[in-house]
């Protein structure tokens, strides 16, 4: 965290702001007219060796192949399930992409509407047709626990630098936590601890743009769970 805060003050840009007119390469969330790079979304200007881009401050989650996401089954077909992963498009989970041998029409025996699953985005084609898979290590149906939803752009804050934030929450509350790239977070643990973990994560979602977040979250958990902390360390 310390290293990052040493960077020059962040600059918030709105759509239409000129990011660069000296021929820098256009990065994410930008567009180019006459060699000038403009911001396309509301966000923070981000200049690095790859070019100049914008890190969005909000918006819808757009799936990328390889993303680990958490979704809820909202429809069942005879050879697939429809999963809501908070993207602008429906995400079908085909029977060939689950770790079970499913007979045609037998889909509801394995996953039902309302079930929560940990998935990986398999592909997104140019027509934005999404495919998701459960055929990978660790992917499974999530039973029990609770879900917390935060804007997907805040996920990196919940994880923290090289996982520092989430490691701290996990060890202090002794909960099992899965973070979906789409902003859905699954928490399982002792009633009181899970409640505190959920509130801590919601707090990160609301205060993501403020500084010294790790200390604040630590203080919050210490206040709520005075005898917790050293359990997992």
């Amino acid at each position: 965290m310390e290293k990052r805060s040493a960077r020059p003050a962040r600059e918030i840009v709105v759509p239409g702001d000129i990011l660069d007119d000296s021929g820098a390469k256009a990065g994410d969330n930008t567009y180019t007219v006459d060699g000038k790079v403009y911001a396309a979304v509301l966000g923070v200007k981000n200049k690095n060796q790859y070019g100049v881009g914008v890190i969005p401050l909000g918006g819808r989650y757009m799936p990328k192949p390889g993303d680990m996401v958490i979704g809820m089954i909202n429809d069942i077909g005879s050879s697939n399930w429809m999963v809501d992963i908070r993207a602008p498009y429906p995400a079908p989970l085909h029977v060939s992409e689950v770790p079970w041998k499913v007979e045609f029409g037998d889909t509801s025996r394995y996953l039902n509407v309302g079930n929560v699953v940990l998935l990986k985005v398999l592909s997104v084609d140019e027509g934005k047709k999404i495919q998701v898979t459960m055929n990978d290590s660790g992917l499974r149906r999530l039973e029990g626990g609770r879900l917390v939803e935060i804007p997907y752009v805040k996920v990196s804050r919940v994880i923290g630098k090289s996982g520092s934030m989430i490691q701290m929450i996990k060890s202090m509350t002794d909960c099992r936590i899965f973070i979906g790239e789409n902003g859905i977070i699954w928490i399982d643990g002792d009633e009181k601890n899970a409640e505190v973990a959920a509130r801590a994560i919601e707090m990160i979602g609301e205060n993501a743009h403020k500084g010294s977040l790790t200390e604040r979250v630590k203080e919050f958990i210490e206040k709520e769970l005075p005898n917790a902390g050293e359990v997992g360390e």
Partner: protein, 245 residues
């Protein structure tokens, strides 16, 4: 443009009935992110106009036959509350609101990068809480701030303002009296970075010279509004202190 009056809309010093000068717009207040449940929202006050705009999406487009496999569509709904005008407005869609919804959606389509979201729909809802002439401009101004607040990729933010003619003077941002008893009303919306016109209508009569003057005033007014729109968006995130991200 409808009635006649013996009211002096512009006095001999060039002052208008609300004390403004001809090239002056009304007091503007813009706030972004006022609604918790919409993906993006904005509240705009221009003089006595009060407008709320909310944006949802991009999301799956329903009904399906409206989907466009090459780009997202923008669905806009402009609605006046029953209490927005002095006589109770009959609730529901009427010919006027259909027209305004259509022109607003078409103006926004010009700046939103719709091709990034094929088959999706971006829904814009504009509610007029209080009307005092120029609500279509206020609505569009609010809608584009709400779109930016929703994190939707767009080329620019659209400001919109009207110019017109009353008592033989070309005026910026007509109020209700000037609109009702004036000679012309010209709502305009532009893309500030290029000065492209994305909305232009005219009601009433003007000479070519007056029209050019009106456009010039409105373009100037749009650039003023654009600054306020940007400020509103920056304010939403700007005062949170330094991030350590």
């Amino acid at each position: 443009m409808s009635g006649t009056t013996d009211m002096i809309l512009v006095d001999k010093d060039g002052k208008r009935i609300d004390g403004r000068m001809p090239e002056e717009h009304r007091a503007v207040k813009i706030e972004a992110g006022v609604l918790a449940n919409a993906d993006g929202s904005a509240y705009v006050e221009i003089g006595k106009n009060k407008v709320l705009a909310a944006v949802y999406g991009p999301r799956e487009c329903h009904p399906r036959h409206l989907q466009d496999p090459t780009k997202a569509i923008i669905q806009c709904k402009y609605n006046m509350q029953t209490y927005s005008v002095s006589d109770r407005k009959r609730p529901g869609t009427d010919r006027r609101s259909v027209e305004i919804s259509k022109i607003t959606a078409e103006a926004l389509e010009k700046v939103v990068l719709t091709e990034l979201y094929p088959r999706a729909s971006i829904d814009v809802y504009i509610e007029i809480l209080q009307a005092n002439a120029g609500t279509r401009c206020a609505g569009l101004t609010a809608a584009s701030v709400a779109l930016a607040d929703a994190g939707i990729p767009m080329r620019d933010i659209i400001p919109s303002i009207a110019a017109g003619k009353a008592d033989g003077h070309v005026l910026l941002d007509l109020n209700k009296e000037e609109d009702n008893f004036g000679q012309a009303d010209v709502p305009l919306a532009i893309v500030p970075s290029t000065n492209e016109i994305v909305l232009l209508q005219m009601d009433g009569n003007m000479t070519r010279q007056e029209f050019d003057k009106a456009i010039e005033l409105a373009v100037g007014g749009c650039h003023d509004l654009y600054k306020l729109q940007k400020e509103a968006l920056l304010k939403r995130y700007g005062d949170g202190g330094d991030s350590d991200e």
